[in-house]
């Protein structure tokens, strides 16, 4: 096979996002995958590569069997938590640009709300190597049994170092994203929040309140990547993409620097590959497991100077009519938590001009982030040709 220098996203597919899908994880993946293939104008047997973005949902074997694929030229599975879907896109790009495969499918789908793996109701188990011992012996014994308190520690330390006197900036993240979700109309949020509603909502893991936490959801989103020699006008091109990892990746409570993560490195690599900089972006879909993560990332990826994220948000610069619209679909906070897979499909819609009422007018270039597994990160810059 001849290498194709440019990777483009030719198809996307989504299921509805709900609190109870009423069908299996595999079924959700298949519905989103078939929608992506149809959108990309190919049939299932044209797929010759699958990158599995997470340790939950459907395996490559599940998809191969169900779709009747006789063979795969490329497969891989990612172990980066919520950074997985976007990191999978990087693998898909490598596969198609190297010539290892032609049509690579990335599908994430899970009953993250109704299923047994609900993150807010189970210990953050990691089944690999020494991480299982870490989670139990040095964290869970101290009450760190779900993700929220870990991120709360980062938020609390950040607030201390930056002299915050209230969580009002977090309230504005929740408010703005809920407004976007209502415009988008495809998620769990059915109304826009006020700052007061956020500030009076119940505490979850201080400083986080209810609306600082993402809404766990059932659903799926899939992306189909192809390599081409010359992108045509209207093609959505993966212009830059990179991943990054924090020091002491599985030791968040002991990490130095404590607020370090893979995000700055991932962003630097993506911007370098794309040959552009933060001021060249028309929108950004930032992985928002918690409201704080949005402000943290605005600084980590260089959109704001260190410490300037709060003012940017308080000034509504992340709203649709702001300097850089963020999470135009409502994100994990308001649309629903699909591990960031719907961040990617939303970015593609923005670049196609099909994002509905939440369309950023004239969107040509957008950034997407993924973040998970206590600090792993991936960043992509997508551009319409």
């Amino acid at each position: 096979m001849v290498p194709s220098p440019t990777a483009i996203i030719v198809g996307i597919g989504e299921t509805e996002i709900s609190k109870d899908s009423g069908r299996s994880d595999v079924r959700l993946n298949l519905e989103a995958s078939l929608a992506a293939l149809s959108d990309g104008g190919i049939v299932a047997t044209d797929v010759d590569g699958i990158v599995v973005p997470a340790l939950v949902g459907a395996t490559a074997e599940d998809l191969m069997s169900a779709l009747g694929l006789a063979d795969l030229a490329y497969s891989a599975a990612i172990h980066m938590g919520g950074a997985g879907p976007l990191a999978a896109l990087a693998h898909a790009r490598l596969a198609v640009t190297s010539g290892a495969a032609q049509n690579v499918l990335v599908s994430f789908g899970q009953n993250g709300r109704s299923g047994s793996q609900r993150l807010g109701r189970r210990p953050p188990r990691l089944q690999i190597s020494s991480a299982t011992t870490y989670r139990r012996n040095y964290e869970a014994v101290h009450g760190f049994v779900v993700p929220a308190p870990f991120y709360a520690l980062w938020a609390q330390r950040y607030m201390y170092e930056n002299g915050w006197t209230s969580t009002e900036p977090l309230a504005h993240v929740a408010r703005i994203q809920s407004e976007h979700a209502v415009l988008n109309g495809l998620g769990l949020a059915d109304r826009a929040l006020t700052v007061e509603e956020h500030q009076t909502s119940r505490l979850i893991s201080s400083p986080f309140r209810l609306y600082d936490c993402s809404r766990e959801a059932d659903g799926a989103a899939a992306i189909l990547v192809r390599g081409v020699a010359n992108p045509q006008p209207g093609d959505v091109v993966i212009r830059g993409i990179g991943e990054g990892h924090p020091p002491q990746p599985d030791q968040p409570l002991a990490r130095r620097p404590f607020l370090g993560s893979g995000m700055p490195g991932a962003a630097r690599r993506a911007f370098d590959m794309a040959g552009c900089s933060p001021e060249d972006l028309d929108f950004a879909e930032l992985y928002d497991a918690f409201s704080f993560n949005v402000i943290w990332q605005l600084e980590q990826i260089g959109i704001c100077e260190p410490g300037a994220g709060a003012a940017f948000v308080l000034d509504s610069q992340i709203a649709l009519d702001g300097k850089l619209p963020v999470n135009t679909h409502g994100g994990l906070l308001a649309q629903g938590h699909l591990w960031g897979a719907a961040h990617i499909t939303e970015a593609v819609k923005q670049l196609r001009g099909t994002a509905g009422k939440a369309q950023v007018s004239g969107a040509r270039r957008g950034l997407v982030t993924g973040s998970g597994d206590f600090g792993d990160a991936s960043v992509a810059i997508l551009e319409v040709s």
Binding site: G120, R121, R122, P123, S130, T133, Y134, R136, N137, Y138, E139, A140, V141, H142, G143, F144, V145, V146, A148, P149, A152, L153, W154, Q156, R157, Y160, R202, L203, I204, S205, S206, P207, F208, Q248, Q251, L253, A254, R256, F258
Partner: protein, 140 residues
């Protein structure tokens, strides 16, 4: 996680971290220290992450320090800790080994008075006859 009378999650000591848990049973905090570069190392490790030496010694360290960050848990998680809500979990930076920050439960503290920088001292809690946990309380 049915862990006897204590009820909450208990550790499962390993070959690597056994000396830490043995120390706690004697009400002593032991941290690995590299005998070459003198760094204190936490979480327990097979090799010094600063200088790659395999020569490390479990070293007594005073269980005192300052709160580096904290969170108070209000939301139920389906674990036995739900009976303690609201409870505060902290990261403590050790006074004698400032490169070490470790997790712990904060006891005998009003959640409203917890802050970054609050001095704390260790409390050894016998969870079971075999397991002692290190928790922290505000220094008085």
């Amino acid at each position: 996680m049915g862990d006897g009378l204590y009820g909450r999650t208990l550790p499962q000591p390993t070959e690597l971290d056994g000396p830490y848990w043995d120390g706690l049973r004697r009400y002593e905090l032991l941290i690995q220290r590299c005998t070459d570069c003198q760094s204190y190392l936490w979480y327990p490790t097979e090799v010094c992450s600063r200088c790659q030496s395999f020569s490390m010694q479990w070293t007594p360290v005073a269980p005192t320090g300052e709160i580096y960050s904290f969170t108070t848990q209000y939301q139920r998680t389906g674990s036995k800790f739900d009976e303690d809500i609201p409870y505060t979990s902290v990261i403590v930076q050790l006074a004698e080994a400032s490169e070490v920050t470790m997790g712990g439960l904060l006891v005998e503290a009003d959640p409203d008075q917890v802050r970054v920088g609050l001095p704390v001292v260790g409390v050894f809690v016998d969870a079971t006859p075999e397991i002692t946990l290190l928790q922290f309380r505000p220094q008085t």
